[in-house]
Symmetry: C2
Subunit: 154 residues, 2 copies
């Protein structure tokens, strides 16, 4: 298996993670996180602006809560960078998020909100494919401009 | 080498990372990030509120910039959780930060600012010890209370 193939598999796992959020499919999302033989104890998750959540139970409960309060969410991923070393991979990406909560009136969609979030996702290779070990998302609060590509932001 | 020993080594590398920031020692900080044989290309860093920085050059320039603009910084680490798997480790912690910039008047310290930041730090074991592969820090914006220990925050 070439390094290129593994890189593609990691990127696919990363894409699947966001698609599970978009479709609100808790089973797929749950299956993407490390599990079994105590590995699930080591997972961690930081949602934008949240404290750290540790362990599979706490992490998955947070997603159930978010899904219950999200009527609509779409992720446009940009700047996806994959770094693979042996059985671990680090993916960074920009999540350009468009989301809406439940509406005030039945049958309506709540107001849509745009959010700029950056994420660091750590995956581990298991016999069942690449699984999430850690997800850390955070809001981008600084001014961004073209200089961000070759200069550190002030 | 027992798993416990490796865990301690990872935690020591994590502590050294913050001590290097406190003492403003760029050489120690630089030596803590993955280097050599192209490994440095895969490093990534997110400072609180910043976009993703990728590659050793971009990451280290950001630290040089931060150190130049920080007169005083102290980290009180809490909630340190270490998860080790083979040659990779994920550390999450809360950085209770007290910092101050250069003062308006010479010889004075600028106003001190407290910040609550959570971090996910990914380390890789090399022949030269555990080195940083990824650092992601983000501000805690939600209300935190005692429930955070066993319930997901709303």
């Amino acid at each position: 298996m070439s390094a290129r193939t593994e890189r593609e598999r990691v990127e696919l796992a990363n894409t699947t993670f966001y698609e599970a959020m978009e479709s609100g499919d808790f089973d797929i999302l749950s299956g993407l996180w490390l599990d079994g033989d105590g590995d699930g104890d080591g997972v961690s998750c930081v949602h934008p602006g949240w404290p750290v959540l540790s362990g599979r139970g706490e992490v998955l409960r947070s997603y159930a809560l978010i899904m219950a309060n999200t009527e609509y969410i779409q992720f446009f991923l940009t700047d996806v960078v994959v770094s693979v070393a042996a059985d671990t991979a680090v993916v960074t990406c920009t999540e350009n998020i468009l989301s809406g909560g439940p509406a005030e009136e039945a049958g309506e969609l709540g107001p849509l909100v745009g959010q700029l979030v950056v994420a660091t996702n750590v995956f581990r290779r298991t016999s069942d494919g690449w699984k999430l070990w850690s997800h850390h998302g955070s809001p981008v609060l600084t001014e961004t401009d073209e200089e961000a590509d070759d200069e550190t932001p002030a």
